[in-house]
Each structure stands twice: as structure tokens, then as C-alpha cells.
């Protein structure tokens, strides 16, 4: 998102005015303070040249108009703070800095339209005149209402999967007129409402999109658990480098009392931490969202007010928490209220059932005799039977092969095929794809294999030729089991 971490574009102008008001009012009330400040800075000028320059630019900023103050403010920020204020080299005591106003409202507490959050999406509906992307949800809903005469009921339920949802609706509305799906609004008959309770297609669409988003998020989380979670990262508030993500969270909680939840409940954690770090770099407090003039001021503020938390009301963070994807319309606040599990939930038998894990794991297996691949070993055997006439069960019965001998055979064939050789007669062909033709011509497969050949006893064929060869696990080992059952019956 381009807005660079400001939690909503509506607010940005507002907050800048606030912070400038702060500066100006403090200036009016305490003119002595600024002079004492410059006094102290001058006395310490030899020791701390950087602080002097900071103080000097700040004092000039206070005296000038709002707009130029803004400009100087940002340049100060740009020159001295391109990195995390907590990672700057140690400065001595910063208690001489100006106090902030306590009676001004925190930007985070300013009222905001319901379910307002930042997004970046283009309007996908047909005949849309706006060509710029929309940066927040209120603007988007207003645009739908005024320009397209359309209201989506409870659109905030779908903020987690907004893009695909709107795209689908765009396609649907292109194909059929709007009256097929929507009902006119009771108050304003010009405007149509798409309601999931009334329109079944909408309901189906929503659940499908929701499910899809949830699965994607869980997959991302699983990948993260295996990879990025094991990487090292520097703490946001000090210079300690933590060896993996769990250690990082533990450290931030233990040392700085900074709690954003357990890493297992988060997704896209690197993005999240980068976002928080960018806020710190912009000298914005994470909790109350006020912007400050310099790094020591920010540090002092966060330490004094104990603002080592993130703003719970800021919906920009919602997408990093997995629980928000769980059910449409219910975000973490809903679940927090609902924290008592009912009895029938706990004693639910399916709670411990492994059978619910119903997933097909694709094991891509290559045919023994040609370069074709199938998605599972069973299919590969079927392919070999149909296309090459290679029936493993028949060969096993014919030669009386037990499990180990079958393994040897498969590895031997693999080995020969990798050298582009026919495993029966030993003739070399130019390419594996030509092996098929050779087998057809010479009818090698109908000849019985030599049971006394050298390779049966070669121990290297007990080791798999290809690592992770699914064909070795995927052949039907009926024979041994049938033998055991027959024996049992005989002994009865």
C-alpha cells in the first residue's frame, strides 16, 4: 500500500494538523522552555554535535508557519531517521526534550466511519468511469452507491477476500442485468442491494471466497513455519538479534512487554514486522499513532506512556491475524467475547478424529520405460500396463518374486532405463522415448526374464536408484499377505 503505513488517508491531514497545533500551543504557553532548550543545547554543543543540529532546526521550526514547519519536520525526519529510532547509536539521557501535550486527543481515538480500513483496489464493475484505485473502504462503498447505484450488504464481511469477490461480481454483472441478483432499496428505489440472505448465489460466492482465502492463508502460514520463521531478525526496540521467530516474540514480550500475539496465530509476519518498523522509522507511536519530532522524543513517549503495544482499533492489522479469516463477518473482537467453549464442543468425538484429514498427496511418478509422468504410482502402473504391456503382477507371479526381489527388479529397470538401455536384451537406444518402439518391435516384454541373471544378487539394486521414487512404495504387495492368510487357514 502506498500510503506508507498511515492507517487511513482520511486521517493523515488531520493528524498533521494535530501535531502542529501541539507544537504551536506549546510554543505559546512556554516560551521560556524553548530558550532554555537552546541554552542547554549550546552548552552541550561540543559533546553532541548531532543533538545541537536537531535542536537548532527544531527551534527554527517552532517559530515559522505551519506549512514550512511541516516541510522542515519531514526533512529532519528524512536526514536523521532513515532507520529504526531504537537502533540508533546510544545517546545520553534525553530527558531535556520538550514534553508532549497530554490533553490533546490521540489520533487513534478520533472517530472514524464504521469498518473503515485501507485497501487498494480498482472498481471492477462494468461501465465504471473512475480509473483510479480506491484507497479506503468508505470511498469504495460511496462510489458504489453514487456511481453504480449499488449497495453490497455487509461488505465488511468480505474485506479479507475483497478483490476476488468484487471481480466475480464484475463478471456476473456484465453477463446479466442487475435485477437478477439485487432487490431495490426500500428507502431509495433507484439503488439496488445485493444481500446474501436473499440472493443464494451471493451466499455461495461468499462462502467459497472465504474458504479459499482461509486455505491460502493456512498454506502461507505452513510455508512460513518451515522457512522464514527460522530466520534471524533484529528486535524492533533494541539491538538484540534473535535466532528465530519464536525467540524474537519471546524476547519482545519478556524485555519490552510488547505483545502482538503468538507467532502461530499470525500470517505474513515479516510484512507485519516491516510495517511496524516503518511506523517507528516515521517516528509514529505504535499505539496512539501520534507523530513525533525526533527519535529520543518518541522513545521517551513510548516508555513513559507504556505504549509498547499496537493499536487494537486499527483495522489495517486485521489481515495479519489468521482468526479474522475464520468466519465471515466475525473478527477477533467477536471471538474474544466468546471465549468460553461450550461443553458439547469439548466432548465432541470428532475433536480427536484423524479421519477428518482428507487430503490427497500427489506423488508424481515417472514411468519405468518412457519419460511420461503420472500423478500417482497406481496410475503409473496402469499406464505401463496399457501402453507398454508391462504387467508387474503377472511378472511377479511368473517368476515367483517376493517383496525384496520386486524392489531389485524395479531398481534394475530404472537403472537400465536411465542408461537408455532395454532391461531385457541389453541393447542401447538413443533416447528413452525410443525405448517404447524398441520394446514393440522386439517384443522383449513377452520373453521371460532370466532368473539367474547377475543383477538379482547385486546389493546395489536394493538401494533406490532414484531418491524418493514413489513406484517403490506404490506397488500392490498382495502376494505376501495372501500367503499369510492362506497359511493361517491351513493351520486351522
Amino acid at each position: 500500500m502506498d500510503d506508507g503505513g498511515e492507517w487511513c488517508t482520511v486521517k493523515s491531514k488531520h493528524s498533521r494538523n494535530e501535531s502542529n497545533k501541539t507544537k504551536e500551543s506549546s510554543n505559546r504557553r512556554r516560551p521560556n522552555k524553548s530558550s532554555t532548550r537552546s541554552g542547554t543545547s549550546k552548552s552541550k554543543s561540543d559533546v553532541r554535535p548531532r543533538r545541537k543540529s536537531q535542536a537548532a532546526t527544531a527551534t527554527t521550526a517552532i517559530g515559522t508557519t505551519t506549512t514550512s514547519a511541516k516541510k522542515i519536520d519531514t526533512t529532519t525526519a528524512a536526514t536523521t531517521n532513515t532507520q529504526n529510532p531504537y537502533h540508533l547509536p546510544e545517546n545520553a539521557d534525553d530527558s531535556n526534550d520538550e514534553d508532549e501535550e497530554d490533553d490533546v486527543n490521540d489520533p487513534i481515538n478520533d472517530p472514524v466511519p464504521p469498518y473503515h480500513t485501507t485497501i487498494m483496489t480498482m472498481c471492477p464493475l462494468p461501465d465504471c468511469l473512475s480509473d483510479r484505485p480506491f484507497l479506503d473502504t468508505t470511498a469504495l462503498t460511496d462510489h458504489f452507491k453514487t456511481d453504480h447505484k449499488l449497495i453490497f450488504k455487509n461488505l465488511h464481511h468480505m474485506y479479507m477476500a475483497l478483490d476476488p469477490y468484487l471481480k466475480r461480481w464484475g463478471e456476473l454483472l456484465r453477463s446479466k442485468p442487475i435485477t437478477e441478483y439485487a432487490t431495490p432499496d426500500s428507502t431509495d428505489s433507484d439503488v439496488y442491494i445485493i444481500d446474501p440472505r436473499k440472493c443464494e448465489l451471493d451466499q455461495k460466492l461468499r462462502t467459497e471466497m472465504q474458504r479459499h482465502a482461509l486455505d491460502e492463508v493456512l498454506n502461507t502460514q505452513q510455508k512460513e513455519r518451515d522457512g522464514p520463521a527460522k530466520e534471524t531478525r533484529k528486535c524492533l526496540f533494541c539491538k538484540v538479534i534473535c535466532e528465530n521467530r519464536t525467540a524474537l516474540f519471546k524476547h519482545m514480550f519478556g524485555e519490552h512487554n510488547f505483545n502482538i500475539g503468538l507467532p502461530d496465530n499470525l500470517v505474513n509476519v515479516n510484512e507485519f514486522l516491516d510495517l511496524l518498523e516503518s511506523k517507528l522509522i516515521k517516528l509514529q507511536c505504535l499505539y496512539c499513532e501520534k507523530t513525533f519530532t525526533s527519535a529520543p522524543v518518541l522513545r521517551k513517549h513510548m516508555r513513559k506512556k507504556k505504549h509498547f503495544k499496537i493499536a487494537a482499533k486499527n483495522r489495517q492489522y486485521d489481515k495479519f491475524y489468521v482468526i479474522n479469516y475464520l468466519e465471515p463477518g466475525k473478527n477477533w473482537e467477536h471471538f474474544e467475547r466468546d471465549n468460553v467453549e461450550s461443553d458439547d464442543e469439548k466432548s465432541d468425538a470428532s475433536n480427536d478424529s484423524w479421519a477428518e484429514w482428507d487430503e490427497e498427496e500427489p506423488e508424481v511418478s515417472m514411468c519405468l520405460l518412457c519419460p511420461e509422468t503420472e500423478s500417482s504410482p497406481q496410475e503409473a502402473w496402469q499406464h505401463m500396463e496399457k501402453k507398454h504391456g508391462f504387467d508387474l503382477t503377472r511378472i511377479r507371479k511368473q517368476l515367483g518374486l517376493d517383496f525384496y526381489k520386486t524392489i531389485v527388479l524395479i531398481n534394475y529397470i530404472r537403472h537400465q532405463s536411465s542408461l537408455d538401455r532395454c532391461f531385457v536384451c541389453g541393447t542401447t537406444v538413443e533416447d528413452l522415448s525410443l525405448l517404447e518402439k524398441h520394446l514393440d518391435e522386439k517384443k522383449c516384454l513377452s520373453q521371460p526374464l532370466d532368473s539367474n541373471a547377475e543383477f538379482w544378487k547385486d546389493p546395489k539394486y536394493l538401494l533406490p536408484t532414484y531418491e524418493g521414487d514413489p513406484l517403490l512404495t506404490g506397488f500392490d504387495d498382495d502376494s505376501d499377505i495372501d500367503e499369510e492368510e492362506d497359511e493361517k487357514e491351513e493351520t486351522k
Binding site: E255, N257, L262, N265, K309, A312, L326, W354, A355, E356
Partner: protein, 254 residues
């Protein structure tokens, strides 16, 4: 730079995104190392050091109800989350979705366990599943393929395990074979400490849950198979509860 606030526990959890909060596990440093107060008889014996190792518990088939017992004997257990999946239940108030975590735990040296837990939050589900996995830890018997050289590296004999309609068979393999198995059961075998093994499967291996359980059952059967070297007469020893009955009779101070 020490920005530590003297955090009072409620302040740490109540405000902010206390997702891991509400005391469910994300305690302060001190809380994590809270003393374990055993509740079961076995727990008390273990805490007092009356039981030497996990194998004593297995010999007498004593059920383990406290996961700290397993932590005490097997501190090097590594856990791996195999899958998190959302499951739904129809209630009067609509659908209720929760996360189900499947976890396998093992020390790659003869002990392995499986656990599954369902919960609203992913972290809670994973934590619960790890605890259940620890409670289900089972010993794995390993043997040799040919000559008894070096350390045991494969299953001692052909063993099979079944769960639902999925059946898994483990077959001894020579050193250097590695684990010839589907990716998911392979993780279980790795954490069990089996280095070389062939596997075959039957039935609906699509239900990965049942397939993994079948592999686990097969691994468990390694100690259930009577081989000639176990023919010698066992000398029976007293069960721990009987042996330490005096210790257990002393009422614990609350």
C-alpha cells in the same frame, strides 16, 4: 536500552492485541518456569526421581496423564506441525469453524507420538496437539537387516498397522536405503529414529490422517512382535506403585 515496563500481567494481556493472552500459555518469564505440581501418582513418583526412565513406565503399561512426565524423561523431543485445517460444525446459530492441528513429535531416537487438537485459535490448537502428542509417546524397536553391525537402523521385522481402511506395512531395508515412503508418513518415520525402511500401503491412502495413524500403529507394533531373542524368561520386578507405596502414602502438602 532497557525499555522494560514493570509489566503487570493483566496490563500485558488485557490491552493491545493480546492474542496469545488471557493467561493461556503466554506467561512472563517466571510463569514459564512455574514449578510442576504433579497430580497423579505416577507424576509424584517421577518428580521425586523414583522412576529411572521412560522404559520403566512402558514395561508396566502405566497410562501417562501428565505431559510433564514425558518432558522430564525426554527433554529433546522435537515437534512438527503436519497440517492445520479448518473444520466446520453446523450449529443453530450457523456454521462454526475452528482450526484443527495435527502434530507429530519425536526425538529421532526411538520415541514418537501423534496428537490432534481442535480450537478457535491456531496457536491454542497447536499447543494442545503437542501436549496430546507427548502423552501418546511410544517406544520404537529398531533392528538390523543383515549382520548386527553398528547401531540398529531399520525395523526388526515386517510389521503392519491399520487405521480405518488405510493399511501401512514397514519392511526392513539394508543400510543406506533411506526411507522409501510417501512424504507424510516419512516425517513420522524420521522422528521415530528409523533410518532405513521400505513401506507399502493399501486402502484409501487419500485420507492422510488415517494413513499417518496406520504408520504410527505399525511403528508401535515393532515392540509387539515376539522374536527369538526375546524368548528368555523375564524376571518380574515390582511395579512402581507397589514398590514405592510408602512414599505415595505420605499425604502431599497442598
Amino acid at each position: 536500552m532497557a525499555d522494560t515496563a514493570p509489566a503487570d500481567r493483566r496490563g500485558g494481556f488485557g490491552r493491545g492485541r493480546g492474542r496469545g493472552g488471557r493467561g493461556r500459555g503466554r506467561g512472563r518469564r517466571g510463569d514459564e518456569k512455574t514449578e510442576w505440581v504433579p497430580v497423579t501418582k505416577l507424576g509424584r513418583l517421577v518428580k521425586a526421581g523414583k522412576i529411572k526412565n521412560m522404559e520403566e513406565i512402558y514395561t508396566f503399561s502405566l497410562p501417562v496423564k501428565e505431559y510433564q512426565i514425558v518432558d522430564y524423561f525426554l527433554p529433546s523431543l522435537k515437534d512438527e506441525v503436519m497440517k492445520i485445517m479448518p473444520v466446520q460444525k453446523q450449529t443453530r446459530a450457523g456454521q462454526r469453524t475452528r482450526f484443527k492441528a495435527f502434530v507429530v513429535i519425536g526425538d529421532s531416537d526411538g520415541h514418537v507420538g501423534l496428537g490432534v487438537k481442535c480450537s478457535k485459535e491456531v496457536a491454542t490448537a497447536i499447543r494442545g496437539a503437542i501436549i496430546l502428542a507427548k502423552l501418546s509417546v511410544i517406544p520404537v524397536r529398531r533392528g538390523y537387516w543383515g549382520t548386527a553391525l553398528g547401531e540398529p537402523h531399520t525395523v526388526p521385522c515386517k510389521v503392519t498397522g491399520k487405521c480405518g481402511s488405510a493399511m501401512c506395512r514397514l519392511i526392513p531395508a539394508p543400510k543406506g536405503t533411506g526411507l522409501v515412503a510417501a512424504p507424510t508418513p516419512k516425517k513420522v518415520l524420521q522422528l521415530a529414529g528409523i533410518t532405513d525402511c521400505y513401506t507399502t500401503s493399501r486402502g484409501s491412502t487419500r485420507t492422510l490422517g488415517n494413513f499417518v495413524k496406520a504408520t504410527f500403529a505399525a511403528i508401535g507394533n515393532t515392540y509387539g512382535f515376539l522374536t527369538p531373542d526375546l524368548w528368555s524368561e523375564t524376571e518380574f520386578t515390582k511395579a512402581p506403585f507397589q514398590e514405592h507405596t510408602d512414599f505415595l502414602a505420605v499425604k502431599q502438602r497442598k
